[in-house]
Protein backbone atom coordinates (compact mmCIF):
# COMPACT_ATOMS: atom_id res chain seq x y z
CA UNK A 1 0.00 0.00 0.00
CA UNK A 2 2.82 2.33 0.81
CA UNK A 3 4.08 1.81 -2.69
CA UNK A 4 1.22 3.97 -3.95
CA UNK A 5 2.51 7.02 -2.20
CA UNK A 6 4.69 8.76 -4.74
CA UNK A 7 5.24 12.47 -4.77
CA UNK A 8 2.40 13.51 -6.97
CA UNK A 9 0.98 10.23 -8.18
CA UNK A 10 0.53 9.84 -11.89
CA UNK A 11 -3.07 9.27 -13.00
CA UNK A 12 -3.08 7.64 -16.42
CA UNK A 13 -5.77 8.89 -18.80
CA UNK A 14 -6.16 9.77 -22.44
CA UNK A 15 -6.54 13.54 -22.31
CA UNK A 16 -5.36 16.61 -24.12
CA UNK A 17 -3.42 17.68 -21.05
CA UNK A 18 -1.70 14.29 -20.72
CA UNK A 19 -0.51 14.53 -24.28
CA UNK A 20 1.04 17.97 -23.96
CA UNK A 21 4.80 18.29 -23.94
CA UNK A 22 6.06 18.34 -20.32
CA UNK A 23 7.92 21.58 -21.00
CA UNK A 24 4.64 23.23 -21.91
CA UNK A 25 3.09 21.99 -18.70
CA UNK A 26 6.05 23.12 -16.60
CA UNK A 27 5.88 26.60 -18.11
CA UNK A 28 2.11 26.75 -17.78
CA UNK A 29 2.29 25.68 -14.14
CA UNK A 30 4.82 28.41 -13.39
CA UNK A 31 2.60 30.99 -15.06
CA UNK A 32 -0.38 29.68 -13.16
CA UNK A 33 1.40 29.86 -9.79
CA UNK A 34 2.51 33.42 -10.53
CA UNK A 35 -1.06 34.30 -11.43
CA UNK A 36 -2.27 33.00 -8.09
CA UNK A 37 -0.25 35.60 -6.28
CA UNK A 38 -1.03 38.37 -8.72
CA UNK A 39 -4.79 38.17 -9.04
CA UNK A 40 -6.94 40.62 -7.12
CA UNK A 41 -10.63 40.92 -6.56
CA UNK A 42 -13.56 38.84 -7.55
CA UNK A 43 -13.01 39.27 -11.28
CA UNK A 44 -9.48 38.01 -10.94
CA UNK A 45 -10.74 35.19 -8.80
CA UNK A 46 -13.25 34.27 -11.50
CA UNK A 47 -10.54 34.23 -14.16
CA UNK A 48 -8.26 32.02 -12.12
CA UNK A 49 -11.10 29.70 -11.21
CA UNK A 50 -12.16 29.43 -14.82
CA UNK A 51 -8.63 28.67 -15.93
CA UNK A 52 -8.08 26.04 -13.26
CA UNK A 53 -11.34 24.20 -13.73
CA UNK A 54 -11.06 24.24 -17.48
CA UNK A 55 -7.71 22.49 -17.21
CA UNK A 56 -9.03 20.03 -14.61
CA UNK A 57 -11.92 19.20 -16.91
CA UNK A 58 -9.65 18.70 -19.89
CA UNK A 59 -7.31 16.48 -17.88
CA UNK A 60 -10.02 13.86 -17.28
CA UNK A 61 -8.75 13.34 -13.74
CA UNK A 62 -11.75 12.88 -11.42
CA UNK A 63 -12.16 15.89 -9.16
CA UNK A 64 -12.68 13.63 -6.15
CA UNK A 65 -9.24 12.16 -6.69
CA UNK A 66 -7.67 15.60 -6.79
CA UNK A 67 -9.43 16.75 -3.65
CA UNK A 68 -7.81 13.85 -1.76
CA UNK A 69 -4.48 15.62 -2.09
CA UNK A 70 -5.90 18.53 -0.14
CA UNK A 71 -6.13 16.43 2.98
CA UNK A 72 -2.42 16.85 3.47
CA UNK A 73 -2.67 20.60 3.83
CA UNK A 74 -5.74 20.81 6.04
CA UNK A 75 -3.56 21.83 8.96
CA UNK A 76 -1.82 24.60 7.04
CA UNK A 77 -5.15 25.83 5.76
CA UNK A 78 -6.51 25.96 9.27
CA UNK A 79 -3.51 27.92 10.53
CA UNK A 80 -3.79 30.33 7.60
CA UNK A 81 -7.48 30.88 8.22
CA UNK A 82 -6.99 31.48 11.93
CA UNK A 83 -4.08 33.85 11.52
CA UNK A 84 -5.81 35.90 8.87
CA UNK A 85 -9.16 35.92 10.62
CA UNK A 86 -7.94 37.05 13.99
CA UNK A 87 -4.83 39.05 13.31
CA UNK A 88 -5.82 41.35 10.47
CA UNK A 89 -6.48 44.92 11.55
CA UNK A 90 -9.57 46.70 10.31
CA UNK A 91 -13.26 47.16 10.99
CA UNK A 92 -14.46 44.73 13.61
CA UNK A 93 -17.34 42.51 12.65
CA UNK A 94 -17.50 40.19 15.58
CA UNK A 95 -15.59 39.95 18.81
CA UNK A 96 -15.42 37.68 21.82
CA UNK A 97 -12.88 37.64 24.66
CA UNK A 98 -9.85 39.38 23.29
CA UNK A 99 -10.26 38.09 19.74
CA UNK A 100 -11.70 40.17 16.92
CA UNK A 101 -12.74 39.16 13.45
CA UNK A 102 -12.54 41.97 10.93
CA UNK A 103 -14.00 42.34 7.49
CA UNK A 104 -10.52 42.54 6.03
CA UNK A 105 -9.59 39.50 8.06
CA UNK A 106 -12.47 37.58 6.61
CA UNK A 107 -11.58 38.60 3.09
CA UNK A 108 -7.88 37.84 3.54
CA UNK A 109 -8.62 34.47 5.08
CA UNK A 110 -10.91 33.61 2.22
CA UNK A 111 -8.46 34.62 -0.47
CA UNK A 112 -5.45 32.96 1.17
CA UNK A 113 -7.41 29.76 1.59
CA UNK A 114 -8.43 29.86 -2.01
CA UNK A 115 -4.86 30.59 -3.10
CA UNK A 116 -3.53 27.64 -1.15
CA UNK A 117 -6.18 25.26 -2.39
CA UNK A 118 -5.73 26.40 -5.96
CA UNK A 119 -1.97 26.12 -5.59
CA UNK A 120 -2.21 22.50 -4.55
CA UNK A 121 -4.81 21.66 -7.16
CA UNK A 122 -2.94 23.36 -9.96
CA UNK A 123 0.42 21.80 -9.14
CA UNK A 124 -1.23 18.43 -8.80
CA UNK A 125 -2.40 18.65 -12.38
CA UNK A 126 1.23 18.77 -13.39
CA UNK A 127 2.21 15.62 -11.53
CA UNK A 128 -1.07 13.82 -12.21
CA UNK A 129 -0.78 14.21 -15.96
CA UNK A 130 2.95 13.89 -16.36
CA UNK A 131 5.01 10.84 -15.49
CA UNK A 132 8.12 11.45 -13.39
CA UNK A 133 10.23 10.46 -16.36
CA UNK A 134 8.48 12.95 -18.60
CA UNK A 135 8.99 15.65 -16.01
CA UNK A 136 12.69 15.00 -15.73
CA UNK A 137 12.96 14.76 -19.51
CA UNK A 138 11.19 18.09 -19.76
CA UNK A 139 13.46 19.69 -17.20
CA UNK A 140 16.50 18.18 -18.88
CA UNK A 141 15.59 19.53 -22.28
CA UNK A 142 14.62 22.97 -21.00
CA UNK A 143 17.78 23.32 -18.97
CA UNK A 144 20.09 22.01 -21.70
CA UNK A 145 21.56 25.45 -22.45
CA UNK A 146 23.10 25.27 -18.97
CA UNK A 147 25.46 22.62 -20.37
CA UNK A 148 27.45 25.47 -21.82
CA UNK A 149 28.34 26.65 -18.35
CA UNK A 150 29.34 23.11 -17.34
CA UNK A 151 26.19 22.29 -15.40
CA UNK A 152 25.72 18.49 -15.74
CA UNK A 153 22.08 18.75 -16.79
CA UNK A 154 21.71 15.16 -18.01
CA UNK A 155 23.25 13.69 -14.89
CA UNK A 156 21.02 15.78 -12.64
CA UNK A 157 17.94 14.74 -14.57
CA UNK A 158 18.99 11.09 -14.37
CA UNK A 159 19.53 11.40 -10.62
CA UNK A 160 16.12 12.96 -10.18
CA UNK A 161 14.27 10.29 -12.11
CA UNK A 162 16.09 7.51 -10.28
CA UNK A 163 15.32 9.17 -6.94
CA UNK A 164 11.65 9.39 -7.86
CA UNK A 165 11.63 5.75 -8.87
CA UNK A 166 13.11 4.65 -5.56
CA UNK A 167 11.11 6.78 -3.16
CA UNK A 168 8.30 4.24 -2.75
CA UNK A 169 10.82 1.46 -2.36
CA UNK A 170 12.71 3.33 0.35
CA UNK A 171 9.49 4.16 2.15
CA UNK A 172 8.61 0.48 2.24
CA UNK A 173 12.10 -0.39 3.41
CA UNK A 174 11.86 2.15 6.23
CA UNK A 175 8.68 0.48 7.34
CA UNK A 176 10.31 -2.94 7.31
CA UNK A 177 13.33 -1.81 9.28
CA UNK A 178 11.14 0.00 11.76
CA UNK A 179 9.09 -3.13 12.33
CA UNK A 180 12.20 -5.26 12.73
CA UNK A 181 13.59 -2.91 15.38
CA UNK A 182 10.22 -2.62 17.11
CA UNK A 183 10.20 -6.40 17.27
CA UNK A 184 13.43 -6.10 19.26
CA UNK A 185 11.84 -3.67 21.68
CA UNK A 186 12.91 -0.39 20.09
CA UNK A 187 10.91 2.64 21.08
CA UNK A 188 10.55 5.47 18.63
CA UNK A 189 7.92 7.39 20.49
CA UNK A 190 8.75 8.06 24.12
CA UNK A 191 11.40 10.34 25.57
CA UNK A 192 12.68 13.81 24.97
CA UNK A 193 14.16 15.12 21.74
CA UNK A 194 17.62 13.77 22.44
CA UNK A 195 16.30 10.35 23.28
CA UNK A 196 14.16 10.28 20.17
CA UNK A 197 17.10 11.29 18.01
CA UNK A 198 19.19 8.48 19.45
CA UNK A 199 16.34 6.08 18.81
CA UNK A 200 16.57 6.94 15.12
CA UNK A 201 20.03 5.41 14.78
CA UNK A 202 18.78 1.80 14.45
CA UNK A 203 16.48 3.07 11.73
CA UNK A 204 18.77 5.38 9.81
CA UNK A 205 21.96 3.31 9.76
CA UNK A 206 20.37 0.27 8.09
CA UNK A 207 18.45 2.55 5.76
CA UNK A 208 21.56 4.35 4.60
CA UNK A 209 23.44 1.11 4.17
CA UNK A 210 20.59 -0.29 2.15
CA UNK A 211 20.44 2.85 0.03
CA UNK A 212 24.16 2.63 -0.71
CA UNK A 213 23.85 -1.03 -1.59
CA UNK A 214 21.03 -0.25 -3.98
CA UNK A 215 23.00 2.56 -5.53
CA UNK A 216 25.92 0.22 -6.08
CA UNK A 217 23.76 -2.48 -7.64
CA UNK A 218 22.02 0.07 -9.81
CA UNK A 219 25.29 1.50 -11.05
CA UNK A 220 26.42 -1.98 -12.11
CA UNK A 221 23.10 -2.63 -13.83
CA UNK A 222 23.30 0.67 -15.69
CA UNK A 223 26.84 0.01 -16.85
CA UNK A 224 25.86 -3.49 -17.91
CA UNK A 225 23.25 -1.90 -20.13
CA UNK A 226 25.91 0.33 -21.68
CA UNK A 227 25.04 3.54 -19.86
CA UNK A 228 27.84 5.97 -20.46
CA UNK A 229 26.50 9.41 -19.67
CA UNK A 230 24.32 11.57 -21.85
CA UNK A 231 26.41 11.60 -25.02
CA UNK A 232 25.13 9.60 -27.92
CA UNK A 233 21.92 8.64 -26.17
CA UNK A 234 18.74 8.48 -28.19
CA UNK A 235 15.29 8.61 -26.67
CA UNK A 236 12.28 6.33 -26.81
CA UNK A 237 9.97 9.26 -26.19
CA UNK A 238 11.76 12.34 -27.51
CA UNK A 239 10.11 15.61 -26.71
CA UNK A 240 8.70 17.33 -29.74
CA UNK A 241 6.40 20.28 -29.66
CA UNK A 242 3.10 19.77 -31.46
CA UNK A 243 0.23 22.02 -32.49
CA UNK A 244 -1.54 21.49 -29.19
CA UNK A 245 1.54 22.84 -27.38
CA UNK A 246 1.54 26.03 -29.41
CA UNK A 247 -2.15 26.47 -28.61
CA UNK A 248 -1.46 25.81 -24.94
CA UNK A 249 1.34 28.39 -24.80
CA UNK A 250 -0.95 30.89 -26.49
CA UNK A 251 -3.81 30.23 -24.09
CA UNK A 252 -1.46 30.48 -21.12
CA UNK A 253 -0.23 33.84 -22.37
CA UNK A 254 -3.78 35.07 -22.87
CA UNK A 255 -4.78 33.85 -19.41
CA UNK A 256 -1.86 35.63 -17.80
CA UNK A 257 -2.60 38.83 -19.68
CA UNK A 258 -6.22 38.69 -18.55
CA UNK A 259 -5.25 38.23 -14.91
CA UNK A 260 -2.87 41.19 -15.05
CA UNK A 261 -5.43 43.37 -16.82
CA UNK A 262 -8.16 42.53 -14.33
CA UNK A 263 -5.78 43.42 -11.55
CA UNK A 264 -5.22 46.88 -12.90
CA UNK A 265 -8.94 47.45 -13.06
CA UNK A 266 -9.28 46.90 -9.32
Amino acid sequence: MLRDITIGQYYPADSVIHKLDPRTKLMATMIYILSLFIFRGLAGFAAVTLGLFLVILLSKVPIGYMVKGLKAIVVILLITVIFNLFLTPGETLVSFWKLRITEEGLRNAAFMTVRLIYLILGSSILTLTTTPNQLTDGLEKSLRPLNKIRVPVHEIAMMMSIALRFIPILIEETDKIMKAQLARGADFESGNLVKKAKAMVPLLVPLFISAFRRANDLALAMEARCYNGGDGRTKMKPLKYKGADAAAYLLAAVYFAVVILLRSFM
Partner: protein, 283 residues
Amino acid sequence: MNFIEARKLVHEYIRRDENDNVESILTALDEVNLDVKQGEFVAILGHNGSGKSTLAKHLNVLLRPSGGTLWVNGKDAQDAGNIWDIRQSTGMVFQNPDNQIIASVVEEDVAFGPENIGVPTTEIWKRVEKSLKSVGMIQYREHSPNRLSGGQKQRVAIAGVMAMEPKCIVLDEPTAMLDPNGRREVLEAVGQLGKEKGVTVILITHYMEEVIRADRVYVMDNGKVVMQGTPRAIFSQVDTLKSYRLDVPQITLLAYELRKAGVPVPEGILTRQELVEALCQLY
Protein backbone atom coordinates in the same frame (compact mmCIF):
# COMPACT_ATOMS: atom_id res chain seq x y z
CA MET B 1 36.71 -19.37 -31.70
CA ASN B 2 34.23 -20.01 -28.93
CA PHE B 3 31.98 -17.18 -27.87
CA ILE B 4 33.68 -17.09 -24.50
CA GLU B 5 37.21 -18.26 -23.88
CA ALA B 6 38.81 -17.76 -20.51
CA ARG B 7 42.28 -19.08 -19.78
CA LYS B 8 43.81 -19.05 -16.31
CA LEU B 9 41.60 -16.19 -15.30
CA VAL B 10 42.61 -14.65 -11.99
CA HIS B 11 40.84 -12.04 -9.90
CA GLU B 12 42.24 -10.77 -6.65
CA TYR B 13 40.49 -8.44 -4.26
CA ILE B 14 43.27 -6.51 -2.57
CA ARG B 15 42.57 -4.82 0.74
CA ARG B 16 44.80 -1.94 1.59
CA ASP B 17 45.22 -0.10 4.88
CA GLU B 18 45.48 3.67 5.35
CA ASN B 19 49.10 3.76 4.18
CA ASP B 20 48.18 1.93 1.00
CA ASN B 21 50.05 -1.17 2.13
CA VAL B 22 48.54 -4.47 1.22
CA GLU B 23 46.52 -5.79 4.15
CA SER B 24 45.06 -8.92 2.63
CA ILE B 25 44.50 -10.52 -0.74
CA LEU B 26 41.40 -12.54 -1.50
CA THR B 27 41.76 -14.67 -4.60
CA ALA B 28 38.21 -14.81 -5.87
CA LEU B 29 39.16 -16.45 -9.16
CA ASP B 30 42.07 -18.86 -9.22
CA GLU B 31 43.17 -19.72 -12.76
CA VAL B 32 39.74 -20.39 -14.16
CA ASN B 33 39.31 -21.87 -17.63
CA LEU B 34 35.95 -21.49 -19.32
CA ASP B 35 34.70 -22.29 -22.81
CA VAL B 36 31.24 -21.42 -24.00
CA LYS B 37 30.10 -22.01 -27.57
CA GLN B 38 27.63 -19.76 -29.35
CA GLY B 39 24.08 -20.90 -28.58
CA GLU B 40 24.96 -23.09 -25.59
CA PHE B 41 23.13 -23.10 -22.28
CA VAL B 42 25.82 -23.22 -19.63
CA ALA B 43 25.20 -23.25 -15.90
CA ILE B 44 27.71 -22.21 -13.28
CA LEU B 45 26.99 -23.64 -9.86
CA GLY B 46 28.66 -22.80 -6.61
CA HIS B 47 28.02 -21.90 -3.01
CA ASN B 48 28.00 -18.28 -1.87
CA GLY B 49 31.61 -17.13 -2.01
CA SER B 50 32.76 -19.70 -4.56
CA GLY B 51 33.63 -17.02 -7.07
CA LYS B 52 30.75 -17.59 -9.46
CA SER B 53 29.45 -14.03 -9.30
CA THR B 54 32.95 -12.66 -9.70
CA LEU B 55 33.35 -14.79 -12.81
CA ALA B 56 30.01 -13.60 -14.15
CA LYS B 57 31.03 -9.96 -13.79
CA HIS B 58 34.12 -10.54 -15.89
CA LEU B 59 32.04 -11.73 -18.82
CA ASN B 60 30.72 -8.25 -19.47
CA VAL B 61 33.77 -6.45 -18.14
CA LEU B 62 32.15 -5.09 -15.00
CA LEU B 63 35.31 -6.44 -13.42
CA ARG B 64 38.75 -6.60 -15.01
CA PRO B 65 40.99 -9.64 -14.54
CA SER B 66 44.10 -9.42 -12.37
CA GLY B 67 45.68 -12.11 -14.53
CA GLY B 68 45.01 -14.55 -17.36
CA THR B 69 43.11 -13.91 -20.57
CA LEU B 70 39.47 -13.56 -21.49
CA TRP B 71 38.00 -13.33 -24.98
CA VAL B 72 34.33 -12.51 -25.43
CA ASN B 73 32.78 -12.58 -28.89
CA GLY B 74 36.26 -12.56 -30.39
CA LYS B 75 37.33 -9.47 -28.43
CA ASP B 76 40.03 -9.21 -25.79
CA ALA B 77 38.43 -8.21 -22.49
CA GLN B 78 41.69 -6.71 -21.23
CA ASP B 79 41.57 -4.07 -23.97
CA ALA B 80 39.71 -1.06 -22.56
CA GLY B 81 38.58 -0.09 -26.04
CA ASN B 82 36.43 -3.22 -26.25
CA ILE B 83 34.35 -2.61 -23.13
CA TRP B 84 31.24 -1.21 -24.78
CA ASP B 85 31.29 -3.73 -27.61
CA ILE B 86 31.50 -6.59 -25.17
CA ARG B 87 28.77 -5.15 -22.96
CA GLN B 88 26.50 -4.83 -25.94
CA SER B 89 27.11 -8.43 -27.01
CA THR B 90 26.83 -9.82 -23.48
CA GLY B 91 23.96 -8.61 -21.34
CA MET B 92 23.46 -9.27 -17.65
CA VAL B 93 20.52 -9.77 -15.34
CA PHE B 94 21.18 -9.41 -11.63
CA GLN B 95 19.85 -10.91 -8.45
CA ASN B 96 17.84 -8.07 -6.95
CA PRO B 97 14.77 -7.36 -9.06
CA ASP B 98 14.32 -3.81 -7.77
CA ASN B 99 17.91 -2.67 -8.06
CA GLN B 100 18.16 -3.06 -11.80
CA ILE B 101 15.00 -1.27 -12.85
CA ILE B 102 15.75 2.35 -13.57
CA ALA B 103 12.57 3.84 -14.97
CA SER B 104 9.14 4.29 -13.42
CA VAL B 105 7.31 2.72 -16.34
CA VAL B 106 7.99 -0.80 -17.63
CA GLU B 107 8.38 0.04 -21.31
CA GLU B 108 10.67 2.96 -20.53
CA ASP B 109 12.93 0.70 -18.52
CA VAL B 110 13.16 -1.82 -21.34
CA ALA B 111 14.11 1.09 -23.62
CA PHE B 112 16.98 2.16 -21.37
CA GLY B 113 19.52 -0.20 -22.96
CA PRO B 114 18.69 0.64 -26.60
CA GLU B 115 18.70 4.35 -25.71
CA ASN B 116 22.20 4.01 -24.34
CA ILE B 117 23.56 2.42 -27.50
CA GLY B 118 21.98 5.04 -29.73
CA VAL B 119 19.24 2.99 -31.38
CA PRO B 120 16.89 5.29 -33.40
CA THR B 121 13.51 6.06 -31.81
CA THR B 122 11.26 3.99 -34.13
CA GLU B 123 13.57 0.99 -33.81
CA ILE B 124 13.50 1.34 -30.00
CA TRP B 125 9.72 0.99 -29.99
CA LYS B 126 9.93 -2.13 -32.14
CA ARG B 127 12.53 -3.75 -29.92
CA VAL B 128 10.70 -2.89 -26.71
CA GLU B 129 7.54 -4.47 -28.00
CA LYS B 130 9.31 -7.56 -29.24
CA SER B 131 11.21 -8.18 -26.02
CA LEU B 132 8.21 -7.57 -23.77
CA LYS B 133 6.20 -10.02 -25.85
CA SER B 134 8.91 -12.65 -25.68
CA VAL B 135 8.89 -12.60 -21.86
CA GLY B 136 5.11 -12.42 -21.68
CA MET B 137 4.96 -8.97 -20.11
CA ILE B 138 3.57 -6.89 -22.96
CA GLN B 139 0.28 -6.24 -21.18
CA TYR B 140 2.19 -4.54 -18.37
CA ARG B 141 4.02 -2.14 -20.64
CA GLU B 142 2.57 1.01 -19.11
CA HIS B 143 2.57 -0.22 -15.54
CA SER B 144 4.77 0.97 -12.74
CA PRO B 145 7.36 -1.62 -11.79
CA ASN B 146 6.44 -1.16 -8.13
CA ARG B 147 3.25 -3.12 -8.45
CA LEU B 148 4.85 -6.11 -10.13
CA SER B 149 5.79 -9.36 -8.44
CA GLY B 150 9.45 -10.39 -8.18
CA GLY B 151 9.14 -12.82 -11.06
CA GLN B 152 7.51 -10.18 -13.24
CA LYS B 153 10.24 -7.66 -12.43
CA GLN B 154 12.94 -10.12 -13.38
CA ARG B 155 11.18 -10.79 -16.66
CA VAL B 156 11.15 -7.07 -17.34
CA ALA B 157 14.87 -7.02 -16.58
CA ILE B 158 15.39 -9.85 -19.07
CA ALA B 159 13.38 -7.94 -21.67
CA GLY B 160 15.51 -4.89 -21.00
CA VAL B 161 18.64 -6.87 -21.79
CA MET B 162 17.15 -8.63 -24.82
CA ALA B 163 16.11 -5.28 -26.28
CA MET B 164 19.81 -4.63 -26.82
CA GLU B 165 19.90 -7.73 -29.04
CA PRO B 166 22.90 -9.31 -27.34
CA LYS B 167 24.44 -12.58 -28.46
CA CYS B 168 24.70 -13.77 -24.92
CA ILE B 169 22.86 -13.19 -21.68
CA VAL B 170 24.38 -13.84 -18.27
CA LEU B 171 21.96 -14.27 -15.38
CA ASP B 172 23.59 -13.87 -11.98
CA GLU B 173 21.39 -15.75 -9.50
CA PRO B 174 18.22 -14.33 -11.01
CA THR B 175 15.90 -16.40 -8.83
CA ALA B 176 17.63 -16.11 -5.46
CA MET B 177 15.14 -13.56 -4.16
CA LEU B 178 11.99 -14.99 -5.71
CA ASP B 179 9.23 -17.27 -4.47
CA PRO B 180 8.67 -20.63 -6.22
CA ASN B 181 6.19 -19.16 -8.71
CA GLY B 182 8.52 -16.35 -9.63
CA ARG B 183 11.37 -18.79 -9.99
CA ARG B 184 9.34 -20.89 -12.40
CA GLU B 185 8.34 -17.85 -14.50
CA VAL B 186 11.90 -16.69 -14.85
CA LEU B 187 13.30 -20.10 -15.73
CA GLU B 188 10.64 -20.55 -18.39
CA ALA B 189 11.56 -17.21 -19.90
CA VAL B 190 15.25 -18.17 -19.82
CA GLY B 191 14.53 -21.50 -21.47
CA GLN B 192 12.72 -19.70 -24.28
CA LEU B 193 15.65 -17.40 -24.93
CA GLY B 194 17.96 -20.20 -25.84
CA LYS B 195 15.46 -22.14 -27.89
CA GLU B 196 13.86 -19.38 -29.89
CA LYS B 197 16.64 -16.95 -30.45
CA GLY B 198 19.77 -19.02 -30.28
CA VAL B 199 21.07 -16.72 -27.59
CA THR B 200 23.93 -18.08 -25.52
CA VAL B 201 22.69 -18.38 -21.95
CA ILE B 202 24.92 -18.47 -18.90
CA LEU B 203 23.01 -19.13 -15.69
CA ILE B 204 24.74 -18.59 -12.36
CA THR B 205 22.93 -20.25 -9.50
CA HIS B 206 23.15 -22.44 -6.45
CA TYR B 207 19.85 -24.21 -7.09
CA MET B 208 20.44 -27.58 -8.69
CA GLU B 209 16.91 -27.90 -10.06
CA GLU B 210 17.55 -24.98 -12.37
CA VAL B 211 20.42 -26.56 -14.26
CA ILE B 212 18.63 -29.69 -15.41
CA ARG B 213 18.18 -28.38 -18.93
CA ALA B 214 21.67 -26.93 -19.30
CA ASP B 215 24.01 -28.27 -21.97
CA ARG B 216 26.94 -28.13 -19.62
CA VAL B 217 27.48 -27.43 -15.95
CA TYR B 218 30.54 -25.95 -14.26
CA VAL B 219 30.88 -26.25 -10.49
CA MET B 220 32.99 -23.72 -8.64
CA ASP B 221 34.52 -23.80 -5.23
CA ASN B 222 37.06 -21.50 -3.69
CA GLY B 223 37.68 -19.65 -6.92
CA LYS B 224 38.40 -22.76 -8.95
CA VAL B 225 36.38 -24.83 -11.38
CA VAL B 226 36.16 -28.18 -9.61
CA MET B 227 33.65 -30.08 -11.72
CA GLN B 228 32.59 -29.91 -15.34
CA GLY B 229 30.16 -31.92 -17.40
CA THR B 230 26.59 -32.60 -18.39
CA PRO B 231 23.92 -32.20 -15.70
CA ARG B 232 23.48 -35.95 -15.51
CA ALA B 233 27.17 -36.57 -14.97
CA ILE B 234 27.37 -33.90 -12.28
CA PHE B 235 24.18 -34.91 -10.49
CA SER B 236 25.34 -38.42 -9.87
CA GLN B 237 28.27 -37.23 -7.75
CA VAL B 238 26.13 -36.42 -4.74
CA ASP B 239 28.82 -36.67 -2.07
CA THR B 240 31.25 -34.50 -4.01
CA LEU B 241 28.57 -31.86 -4.50
CA LYS B 242 27.81 -31.91 -0.80
CA SER B 243 31.46 -31.36 -0.03
CA TYR B 244 31.21 -28.20 -2.12
CA ARG B 245 28.26 -27.01 -0.02
CA LEU B 246 25.77 -27.78 -2.78
CA ASP B 247 22.78 -30.02 -2.85
CA VAL B 248 20.90 -32.12 -5.33
CA PRO B 249 17.14 -32.10 -5.91
CA GLN B 250 15.18 -34.29 -3.54
CA ILE B 251 14.45 -36.86 -6.26
CA THR B 252 18.11 -37.23 -7.21
CA LEU B 253 19.03 -37.58 -3.56
CA LEU B 254 16.38 -40.24 -3.03
CA ALA B 255 17.64 -42.18 -6.06
CA TYR B 256 21.14 -41.95 -4.66
CA GLU B 257 20.08 -43.15 -1.21
CA LEU B 258 18.18 -46.06 -2.75
CA ARG B 259 21.27 -47.05 -4.71
CA LYS B 260 23.33 -46.96 -1.53
CA ALA B 261 20.74 -49.20 0.13
CA GLY B 262 21.02 -51.74 -2.63
CA VAL B 263 18.26 -50.88 -5.07
CA PRO B 264 19.99 -50.75 -8.50
CA VAL B 265 18.62 -47.41 -9.64
CA PRO B 266 20.69 -45.95 -12.50
CA GLU B 267 23.01 -43.04 -11.81
CA GLY B 268 22.28 -39.42 -12.54
CA ILE B 269 18.51 -39.46 -12.17
CA LEU B 270 17.33 -35.94 -12.85
CA THR B 271 13.55 -35.95 -12.80
CA ARG B 272 10.68 -37.59 -10.96
CA GLN B 273 9.56 -39.23 -14.19
CA GLU B 274 12.90 -40.94 -14.61
CA LEU B 275 12.83 -42.29 -11.09
CA VAL B 276 9.28 -43.60 -11.48
CA GLU B 277 10.24 -45.40 -14.70
CA ALA B 278 13.39 -46.83 -13.17
CA LEU B 279 11.58 -48.12 -10.09
CA CYS B 280 8.74 -49.59 -12.11
CA GLN B 281 11.19 -51.46 -14.28
CA LEU B 282 12.94 -52.88 -11.25
CA TYR B 283 9.78 -53.87 -9.46
